[in-house]
């Protein structure tokens, strides 16, 4: 396995969650590729809104894809699970040891994620292991029947009822205090509150949501131009033109988030500026 380099670490305290975390590759300690960050779990507490963990796998991806294809993927995942009521596992952000071009997780989280990949494990056992030269075979450490790999050790916790996901947040319709449309949420910025820098262990830890960016357009949402303009002039100019109605909204200025109706309403005195004009 390759402990591939991951470029520079995302060391900023405040960063775009959609740009830097969502849809990124998850890498284990030995460099194993363990899936993508398909969604993020959010928790509302009296102190604010926090990104607490990530979800990975067909169910989360299906939710992000939407439409009949996404539903099909999610339903197929649920049907193929053995539990009576399958829940998606949330891997807490404390288990993320480093965030660079990949999301690097610790050994235990890596094992849980490897064990959750049922299609991979099924293909290994029933297809690949029968072809000469597949190597590994019985000595494979990721075999699912190893007793220490049960999810009971508390690393992967099922998505709870009170929790929300970033994909729900991204689908919210944003409105001004008098009901004017601001579009949908396309980016969320957050800051580190736990982890190494704050003396809470080694992991990345939960992230406090600071601002949301709303836009009537989704085009190029994850390209990385939402918060800071950079790169070739032509691309920058085209995206700026397309996203000229983007608005930055501090979470403290949000009057209410109605998850049921899928609405986010800005407060009366909310400052709405283009994200490039916010320092």
């Amino acid at each position: 396995m390759t402990p591939a380099t991951g470029g520079w670490e995302v060391d900023a305290d405040r960063f775009g969650v959609v740009l830097r975390l969502l849809d990124h590759q998850i890498v284990g300690e030995q460099g194993q590729l363990l899936g993508n960050v398909d969604d993020l779990a959010l928790e509302e507490t009296p102190e604010g809104l926090f990104v607490v963990g990530f979800l990975s796998g067909p169910a989360a991806l299906g939710g992000r894809l939407g439409g009949w294809g996404g539903r099909l993927l999610g339903d197929a995942w649920r049907r193929l699970r053995t539990e009576p009521e399958p829940r998606q596992l949330v891997v807490p952000l404390e288990r993320v040891v480093r965030l660079d071009s990949a999301v690097r997780v610790d050994t235990r989280a890596g094992r849980i994620l490897a064990q959750e990949q049922r299609l991979e494990l099924w293909l290994r056992r029933h297809v690949l292991a029968r072809i000469p030269g597949a190597m590994g075979g019985e000595s494979d450490p990721d075999r699912p029947d190893r007793p220490d790999l049960r999810p009971a050790d508390g690393i992967g916790v099922p998505l709870r009822d009170g929790q929300h996901t970033v994909s729900e947040l991204l689908a919210l319709r944003a409105l001004t205090s008098d009901g004017g449309a601001l579009g949908e949420v396309i980016e969320v910025t957050a800051e580190r509150v736990g982890g190494r820098e704050h003396g809470h262990g080694d992991g990345l830890g939960p992230l406090r949501v600071l601002d949301v960016i709303c836009s009537p357009r989704h085009l190029g949402q994850e390209l990385g131009y939402t918060l800071t303009p950079q790169g070739p002039r032509l691309v920058r100019w085209l995206l700026r033109a397309c996203h000229r109605s983007d608005r930055h909204l501090h979470l403290g200025d949000v009057a209410e988030i109605d998850w049921e109706r899928g609405e986010l309403r800005a407060g009366e005195y909310a400052v709405l500026r283009h994200p490039h004009d916010v320092d």
Binding site: G7, A12, R20, Q25, G35, L65, L128, G133, D142
Partner: protein, 409 residues
């Protein structure tokens, strides 16, 4: 010394690996119909693939992320999936064309129908992808592909009117016998053949297979900036021999045998043997590269374990995708579809699919958080922007031109 050897080996394999069935067929076909009047497109295409490959190789070396990782990350799941479907359809079509090309080369060598060879080639490609080490695969076929140098030798032996060839290349114009739309259609096809998207998927994923770090950037650049242009010269010599031998006699290229015809005229049996070895190595190598590219891209989109740097058992889904694409390609060829025709379509569809992967690479190569001091400079960005416009124009023009010209009739 060892380092020099590594650089030289890399350059040689880049030359041999540059040419695939698309370049062989399209260059010969264009040379026989348009002489050297489309040589400029090969030049534009080679510069384009250099810009594009260097950027993706640099991103892979610095950030450890291959092309489809970036596509998923920067386009999101939905647009990324559409991109994946489009790019993989084209890469799969190219895989089909390459396997057909290997079978045609074997038919030329053995006089046994290519249809009988197709399943054998399919199994052979899969076996190589299953068992052979990445470095061996890349070097052996790249070096054997150098046998195509026989086209340059043949051109020299034919003793053509060099001034005429050069002036036709320098002053491109639509031949009086051809329509401008047909000319433009083949320009797009040549552009697609030189800049096939799989080359970038393979190049960036290959960088990760070989554990590139920023220290290998020099070697990578030498491969790209020396190897690819020399490979482009090979492409041009294929067009030039066709322009010298086939064009005056009014022979159009419809089979792989006709691609080799000028070499036979120039050098007889021995030259033909080299040409056939070159055909075999170039198409077989490219079949392996496209087969891997299909697996790489799908695995990277979903975040699955991929690559030949792990035991096959650890990358089960990746290897299953590779097996299935080999089987499906063989299946398509067994419908008795003409592999040369598949090739002609595959290069045009390549041109259509180019912007899909080009934009995310350009954007990430500019991301300071990822790239640090290896971020794109003004030259890479200027060329990158020019080529962004070019690939979009070629992509948009391809379908209308195909309809207007009846696919170049």
């Amino acid at each position: 010394m060892k380092r020099l050897f590594a650089v030289a080996l890399g350059i040689l394999t880049a030359i041999g690996g540059f040419v695939d069935i698309g370049d062989l067929v399209t260059n010969a076909l264009v040379g026989a119909r348009f002489g050297m009047s489309l040589a400029w497109v090969v030049l534009v295409g080679v510069v384009g693939i250099c810009v594009f490959a260097e950027m993706s190789g640099r991103v892979a070396a610095v950030s450890g992320r291959a092309t489809f990782d970036l596509v998923r990350e920067r386009l999101g799941p939905r647009a990324g999936l559409l991109n994946l479907v489009g790019s993989m359809a084209v890469t799969f079509l190219t895989l089909t064309a390459e396997i057909g090309g290997v079978a045609l080369a074997l038919e030329l060598a053995t006089s046994v129908s290519h249809l009988l060879w197709v399943p054998v080639v399919g199994v052979a490609v899969w076996l190589v992808l299953w068992r052979v080490k990445f470095a061996v695969l890349e070097n052996v076929f790249g070096l054997a592909g150098l046998a195509l140098v026989v086209f340059a030798v043949a051109l020299w032996k034919l003793g053509p009117d060099w001034g005429g060839l050069a002036s036709a290349a320098m002053h491109p114009s639509v031949p009086v016998t051809e329509d401008w739309a047909v000319y433009a259609y083949y320009a797009v096809a040549l552009f697609g053949a030189a800049m096939t998207p799989y080359e970038v998927f393979f190049f960036s994923s290959g960088g990760i297979e070989e554990h590139w770090t920023p220290r290998e950037l020099g070697t990578m650049r030498a491969n790209v900036f020396i190897g690819f242009p020399l490979g482009g010269l090979l492409s041009l010599s294929i067009a030039a021999v066709a322009a010298t031998v086939l064009l005056p006699r009014g022979i159009e290229v419809e089979t792989l045998g006709q691609v080799a015809l000028p070499v036979v005229v120039a050098g007889g049996k021995l030259a033909l043997a080299f040409a056939l070895l070159g055909f075999f190595a170039a198409t077989f190598g490219a079949a392996c590269e496209t087969g891997l590219s299909v697996g790489y891209s799908i695995a990277q989109y979903f975040g699955w374990q991929w690559g030949k740097f792990v035991e096959p058992l650890r990358a089960a889904r990746f290897h299953v995708v590779v097996v299935l694409s080999c089987i499906a390609a063989v299946g398509i060829l067994l419908t008795t579809v003409d592999p040369v025709m598949v090739t002609e379509y595959s290069v045009v569809f390549s041109a259509i699919a180019l912007p899909l992967t080009y934009l995310p690479i350009l954007v990430v190569a500019n991301d300071r958080t990822y790239m640090g001091r290896h971020v794109n400079g003004w030259l890479a960005n200027s060329l990158g922007t020019v080529y962004l416009v070019l690939v979009v124009v070629a992509s948009v023009a391809a379908i209308p031109l195909m309809v207007i010209t009846g696919a170049g009739q």
